[in-house]
Subunit: 338 residues, 2 copies
DNA sequence: ACTCGTTTTTGAATCGTTTCATTTGTTACG
DNA sequence: CGTAACAAATGAAACGATTCAAAAACGAGT
């Protein structure tokens, strides 16, 4: 009783063949009512629990999907992950989440791990150059879907958000409210951030007397945002930008804290502020923060859908879905300047 | 080449026996240099990747530890989870994270799933009554460690934080700074919250002219905190508490937003505010928030350690580790009132 | 009672690894 | 040259499920 019962033990106990027990579990219709009851009774009495490893070995594949994100602590990714988990659960699969922490070697480590687990498929928000590895996986029948990154459709499917459009929306909004001297805060070395900046620059170029200054935050956290905010406070009023666009909400909240703490700069009167991601904290910040909302649930759900499509097509048909971000206006960009 | 190579294919390719390939992977010292090189070369050429399911099946156990938390979105749990993952990685194990969302049926679902996976052990922050299931698991050789919950040492190990002490620390601090009319905000139906309240009440009872009012927040989020904050603002100044202790930082931040937004109440001059958990956002709030810090990294790390102890002792020896929380004083409780 | 057709049950083969008792190969020493 | 001692390599058995061709049981019709 102490050790786990196997299907064989159940068969013996119920006086049937092992195949019958398996049928009860997998094809109940093939088994007569009487034996089914007997087997189920034995299963309950012995406390039998399927051994997933044995099942997988025979099946050659697991019911598991791997997901590698840049940072699970980031609300954006945890939201995507949760949506993916829910969608996968509906298909009877489980999602394993790996956190690369923006480190290529950790990313590679998780890819190896998932390969050993014979995952059904892989969802990944890549940090390193994973093209080669994805090719290998595809050859072996493991489809991959890029998340939050546009893929070469020759290679694999992807689900992403139009970052350039998001950047454009944010800057356009600031310009529409009359601000002209803009600043962009972020780390353009990250692809998503660079795209957002590009969109912002496009919006600025459409307005003759507008300009945008780029401030590298060297990080995407609240703390690095505060540093940038402090540097803005130290400037003389006429050297300060009229509006600041941060590449994510954490940065924006950091900037906001620096600006409001010293009470010399008012938001939005002196400086308007907009972030990106629309995390839960944005609406409940000191000054409710305008932001660019990304459809995280749709991202996660669609990623699973695309993975299913890949599986059905045998990994030959790829598709890229690009969502459009949405401007959310709150108090931090209200009114006109001056 | 398209399908995955097995150890047998490697053996054929390298012209050795399968056992030798296995030895190269698991006991390199048993194999001569020459054959080792040959096998490794074949492995590389064929792109062989271990099949974890087969390995587990043979081993009878996985290299996997299950962790069930109340909410992965909560920074407290995501921090504990990360620490557990790191500690497990050092032992060559992987942590699977399941989110019960405070729902007993989801919790049961994950327990079933982990049992099918034959996890090495289970870490769980329980929501339902899991005593029975834990007993069953123990009988089957799967040790369990309760996380953030004190266990009956007869049954299993646990790692927790002294919530009553934390509550005491918070209230004592408020009293020490001269505040007398306190308010407690939280949902006492949750065990941890109830303990914190109990500790706070003890501190209050030690001071003759002090009192504490309990405000049920019906939730533990920023939004529910704001509701409570609004109700405080609506009160006449003399009816307002001098200090508010919130059962977590999200609530406290919500309360803070309500109070500061209307600019009629000053923090900490009119109302002092203290939270619980010391999440990253606490230090960077409008008014930096005093809080009770819980050693999340130690919790996660120790949980894994206790699990290892359980395994070594064959599940006979149980131990409970209780950490002491720590008061972190910031601006939100600075100075004396009036 | 016998046949045919259908439903139910059987049990050996299989998945890919690890283990371990044996066999084979090598070296050292009398 | 023989053999003991040790190192290295072998390959069959086992883990626990699923599958599937074959056997058995059943029921209906004559």
């Amino acid at each position: 009783m102490s050790q786990t019962a196997s299907i064989k033990d159940v068969a013996t106990h119920a006086q049937v063949a092992v195949g019958t027990v398996s049928n009860v579990l997998n094809y109940p219709d093939r088994v007569s009512q009487r034996t089914k009851e007997r087997v189920l009774k034995s299963i309950a009495e012995l406390g039998f629990v399927r051994n997933d490893a044995a099942r997988q070995l025979r099946a050659g594949q697991s019911r598991t999907i791997g997901l590698i994100v840049l940072d699970v602590g980031n609300p954006f990714f945890s939201s995507v992950a949760r949506a993916a988990e829910d969608a996968a659960a509906a298909l009877g699969s489980v999602v394993l989440v790996g956190d690369s922490g923006q480190d290529a070697s950790r990313e590679a480590h998780y890819m190896d791990l998932f390969q050993e687990q014979r995952v059904q498929g892989l969802l990944i928000s890549p940090v390193g150059d994973v093209g080669q590895r994805i090719d290998t996986l595809r050859e072996r029948g493991v489809p991959t879907v890029l998340v939050d990154e546009l893929a070469d459709t020759e290679r694999c499917s992807s689900v992403s958000v139009d970052d350039e459009e998001g950047g454009y929306l944010a800057a356009k909004h600031l310009l529409d409210t009359g601000r002209r001297r803009l600043a962009f805060v972020g780390t353009p070395s990250i692809r998503q951030v660079a795209s957002r900046l590009k969109g912002a620059q496009r919006a600025v170029s459409e307005v003759s007397d507008a300009g945008i200054e780029v401030l590298d935050s060297e990080g995407q956290t609240v703390l690095t945002g505060r540093k940038v905010g402090n540097s803005l406070v130290e400037r003389s009023p006429e050297e300060r930008p009229e509006a600041v666009f941060c590449s994510n909400d954490l940065l924006a909240l950091g900037v906001m804290q620096s600006l409001t703490m010293l009470r010399t700069v008012r938001i939005p009167e002196d400086i308007a502020l907009i972030g990106y991601d629309d995390i839960d904290f944005a609406i409940s910040a000191v000054v409710p923060l305008s932001s660019i909302r990304q459809p995280t649930e749709a991202l996660g759900r669609t990623a699973i859908e695309l993975l299913a499509e890949e599986q059905e097509s045998g990994g030959t048909k790829h598709r890229s879905v690009v969502f459009t971000p949405e401007l959310v206006v709150r108090q931090s960009t209200a009114g006109a300047p001056k």
